[in-house]
Symmetry: D2
Subunit: 155 residues, 4 copies
Amino acid sequence: MATDTGDTVITIANPDFAKAVLSSFNRQNAMQLIQASMPVIEHGLTEIHVPHWDGIEQQHGFIHGGVVGMIADSAAGYAAMTVVPADASVLSVEYKLNFMAPANGEKLIARGQVIRPGKTLIVTKAEVFSVVDGQEKVCALMQQTIMVMHGRVEK
Amino acid sequence: MATDTGDTVITIANPDFAKAVLSSFNRQNAMQLIQASMPVIEHGLTEIHVPHWDGIEQQHGFIHGGVVGMIADSAAGYAAMTVVPADASVLSVEYKLNFMAPANGEKLIARGQVIRPGKTLIVTKAEVFSVVDGQEKVCALMQQTIMVMHGRVEK
Amino acid sequence: MATDTGDTVITIANPDFAKAVLSSFNRQNAMQLIQASMPVIEHGLTEIHVPHWDGIEQQHGFIHGGVVGMIADSAAGYAAMTVVPADASVLSVEYKLNFMAPANGEKLIARGQVIRPGKTLIVTKAEVFSVVDGQEKVCALMQQTIMVMHGRVEK
Amino acid sequence: MATDTGDTVITIANPDFAKAVLSSFNRQNAMQLIQASMPVIEHGLTEIHVPHWDGIEQQHGFIHGGVVGMIADSAAGYAAMTVVPADASVLSVEYKLNFMAPANGEKLIARGQVIRPGKTLIVTKAEVFSVVDGQEKVCALMQQTIMVMHGRVEK
């Protein structure tokens, strides 16, 4: 089994990637603090969802840009984690994020995706959508670099 | 009165900038959610502080990278707000952030600074420090673009 | 006539966009210096091609990363120019570029694309491909912010 | 001997760093193509200078943004090379650059600097200045990630 990202076919390095990712995600208090969940974990792709609630708003009643960045960074980082061996962990080296529209609507969906897997570095992207009346509207776009740490399994 | 950022002297466009910034910051629920405060507001510079508490941790007991990004983006955005006229507001267009060390220690300090003021766009930076045994250690570096929206005062 | 970029349909603001873009490109000495050409100009998309010749190499015989960045930035900037009114010009505000593979092969193709058009700011991306034995291989990925300057036609 | 970058003291890993950097720079045809030179090589810092000549201009007679990016990326990458062991080489992973003013004047100076050295990754920055009537004016700011490849000396 493998994933095709256009010009790259990524073989599955850890058959239990979904379990490993979800277990890590569930131990992130900060994700619980903002009421985030991770309903989608596929090979090379994850989704983080956050309902729009008042605790995560900024001064205009939109969801805070910091929360947008937080779930974009995490969704893409976990997408990278789905493609590394079971005895490796991943680290977010850096990312760049463009805000493209206010994060209003009922909820946010951050969709993280592996663009270019590598042994040491993985390039990923995330798109964040606000769901308004059931329709997804892009509100942010992120490009990220992930480092793979071999032999350092996440406990 | 003015601020010197090396090759640029920024004149003060809004004498009440500190009041305007603090009032905006205090209406951001998301900043309260993570227990952030803004003890420093100078012309061209702000600081956001966050104590290390378990609700904002990731799976290894460090402060979540998303929180680091959140306060870096906000501190630099508010630094930009200190240099715009009273009838203008600011918008975070995009930023790029490098994580340089784990966010451990007693608290985080995000120091946002105006690098290049402009009529429509302002370039800023933020450094995030973790305070370990009273000593500041850099843990992240951010470069950001802010858009000024003239005639749109923040209510 | 219009272009569909997923969730956004971009109407054509300047029917003569191809002529305007090509005329601007042809006046860029730096593009001639590196032997770049622009064989593709569509609404929301341009391509810059550069043959692999020794004058643009780095120390290992690959095409210099600076040339990769140069054509990525330009292709995406010109993609933005295709969607603005005839009396507007565009300015590259900032970009972020990931190098993903060495730029070897017979030639480089930078494909610039509008991701999110806006009245004042346009978000674009570019992918740079090296053509090796006739096959395109991604070697860089860029995300960019463009500013639209209305009423400032490029002469 | 060592360099102090604020909170980090970087020890000298390769006493012959200046020779190694200059030798590499001199083998980059693309740098000769744009008439770039490297008159400053210090521990953790390099400078690339480019005279303003018509071959590197864009359509308005300023120096092309692509050339600005090219020398920013290279100056910071070579700054990183000054701090790695003799048997290691460096690779530009990614960078983000803000254009802040047109690149006019007599010449450009790109000043690259190590911000955070690490065993595998080095964070750097570069500022590009245009020299107008002998005065330096900032025209671009870059933040970059460099990968160190140990055991792969540059020939």
